[in-house]
């Protein structure tokens, strides 16, 4: 059974419809990626899952409807979202940002362990723990966004363009961390990306969307071999 399932998902900003009945699933323990160009509706899809805007259709998490619920209630079910633009609390320290990630958790010892865990995944954050998050570089802020999401101990991690505007080396470090978490802790991942090649190398399932509709879907390795995808999104 899929962990997350969207059925005929629709969403709009004001009068402009952005998603026109999207169907997709994320398997338990799997990594699914949604690819698409600017404005295809990738960010909107993640925002819709988190209840950050009004939606039509159905969203099921672990077999239960979550559409229409408040964002904070959805988050508490175990869905962590590292949003576009990273959503860091720039005025707070790195450590405070991470503490907020674990807000709503009551298992103190588990939280302490997870602090160690994310500092191990991203050692640079441990060095900067007392620094205001706003003073971090773009790459470090992205790491912080992922780390903060992990502090929730999520079952599902939503990542919104983690590679955006970052140096390839940093991107690789972040993706390595995501893969580690996915393998070792069986955290399912829904990744939204413009950078198709890196997303397809990480994911096991992929969807290609254009203007709010799924135009192609399948196993990631199959999509990588696909002629059309290769030409328009991988560029070789």
């Amino acid at each position: 059974m899929p962990l997350l399932e969207a059925v005929r998902l629709e969403a709009q900003y004001g009068w402009t419809k952005v998603l026109h009945g999207l169907d997709f699933t994320v398997d338990e323990g799997g990594i699914t990626t949604i690819l698409g160009a600017n404005g295809a509706g990738k960010t909107t899809t993640l925002r819709a899952v988190c209840g950050m805007l009004r939606t039509g259709g159905e969203i099921l998490f672990d077999g239960r409807r979550i559409d229409g619920k408040a964002t904070e209630a959805i988050v508490r079910l175990g869905i962590a979202h590292a949003p576009e633009g990273r959503g860091t609390f720039v005025g707070l320290t790195v450590e405070e940002n991470l503490r907020l990630g674990a807000y709503g958790r009551r298992d103190r010892s588990g939280v302490a362990r997870d602090f160690e865990r994310v500092y191990q995944l991203f050692p640079v954050l441990a060095q900067r723990r007392r620094q205001a998050a706003g003073t971090l570089s773009g790459g470090e802020q992205q790491m912080l966004a992922v780390a903060r999401a992990l502090m929730l101990r999520p079952r599902l991690l939503l990542l919104d363009e983690p590679s955006l505007g970052l140096a390839p080396l940093v991107v690789r470090e972040i993706f390595r961390a995501v893969r580690t978490i996915n393998r070792e802790e069986r955290v399912s991942v829904l990744l939204v990306e413009q950078n198709a090649s890196i997303a397809l190398s990480l994911a096991d399932h992929a969807y290609l969307i254009e203007t709010g509709r799924v135009v192609m879907s399948g196993r990631a390795d199959e999509l990588r071999e696909n002629e059309a995808i290769r030409r328009s999104y991988l560029g070789y």
Binding site: C50, V75, P83, Y103
Partner: protein, 267 residues
């Protein structure tokens, strides 16, 4: 401090404090011991602040700042009139919990009430600092004010955090009101002058910096009295004008205050 937790400059703060002080006065008149009335007032103020936010501010929460400010000013006028209606505009004496005998330190005498009020204020400040700095709830309140969208994404109930902020603000205001009332006497307009000083202090020190606001308070007080004493035509009558002029000058020259950070929103 409260601005940090709610991100709104609440112009009704002073009137909320005044109203709480009247409540304390009613309780004292009913024969309750001072400290019982004191803490009961704090509790009522907290709940009152919470309710005000839920009922009055909530509907305009997502409206532009200006709308919220106008609502606050409306609240100010309403509270002021209701207090006047219920308790009349005649000044009433308000008791001090501290002894009347002045305390001698070396060769200087201090009013016991002044020292007591300073002590109480310091305790409140330290408690607030510890609360915001070290507790998870305090952290969540700061987060909710700074970045509501991200706060929801970590599971914080943002609306409730704002309401709590108002509750706390009302409580701190109640303490201030009960400490000031023995000095200025109790009347519906008692906070008007004080509020101007408070805004002058906060503007001078910087709204984003609680420590700066305290220092700003000292600076405003010292400047005002120096100017009042040494500049003949100002004297004591125009002292309040000095504070107002300071607000104006700071806003014109350095809007973020001496210690505040300019808040720049990335687009």
């Amino acid at each position: 401090m409260i601005y940090q937790a709610t991100d709104v400059v609440n112009f009704a703060q002073g009137e909320m404090a005044m109203f709480s002080t009247y409540l304390a006065w009613s309780m004292l008149n009913a024969g309750l011991p001072y400290w019982v009335a004191f803490f009961a007032t704090l509790a009522v103020a907290f709940v009152g602040g919470l309710l005000l936010e839920r009922v009055v501010i909530r509907p305009v929460e997502s409206a532009p700042v200006l709308a919220i400010v106008i609502v606050c000013i409306g609240l100010l006028v309403i509270l002021n009139s209701v207090a006047g209606f219920l308790y009349s505009y005649i000044q009433k004496p308000f008791p001090s919990p501290f002894p009347e005998k002045p305390i001698r330190v070396g060769n200087i005498y201090f009013g016991a009430h002044d020292l007591g009020a300073i002590a109480v204020t310091l305790v409140v400040l330290v408690l607030l600092y510890l609360f915001f700095r070290y507790t998870t709830l305090g952290l969540a309140m700061r987060a909710a004010a700074q970045n509501p969208a991200s706060s929801r994404l970590v599971g914080i109930r943002v609306g409730w955090m704002l309401a709590l902020g108002w509750g706390l603000a009302a409580m701190v205001g109640a303490v201030a009101g009960m400490m000031i009332a023995p000095v200025v006497f109790l009347d519906p307009n008692m906070m008007a002058g004080i509020l101007i000083y408070a805004f002058a202090s906060a503007t001078l020190g910087g709204f984003t910096s609680p420590g700066g606001a305290v220092l700003g308070g000292f600076l405003v007080g010292v400047t005002e009295n120096l100017v009042g004493t040494y500049v003949k035509f100002i004297g004591t009558e125009l002292k309040l004008t000095v504070a107002l002029a300071m607000i104006l000058i700071v806003l014109l020259v350095k809007p973020s205050g001496l210690f505040g950070r300019a808040i720049v929103h990335r687009v």
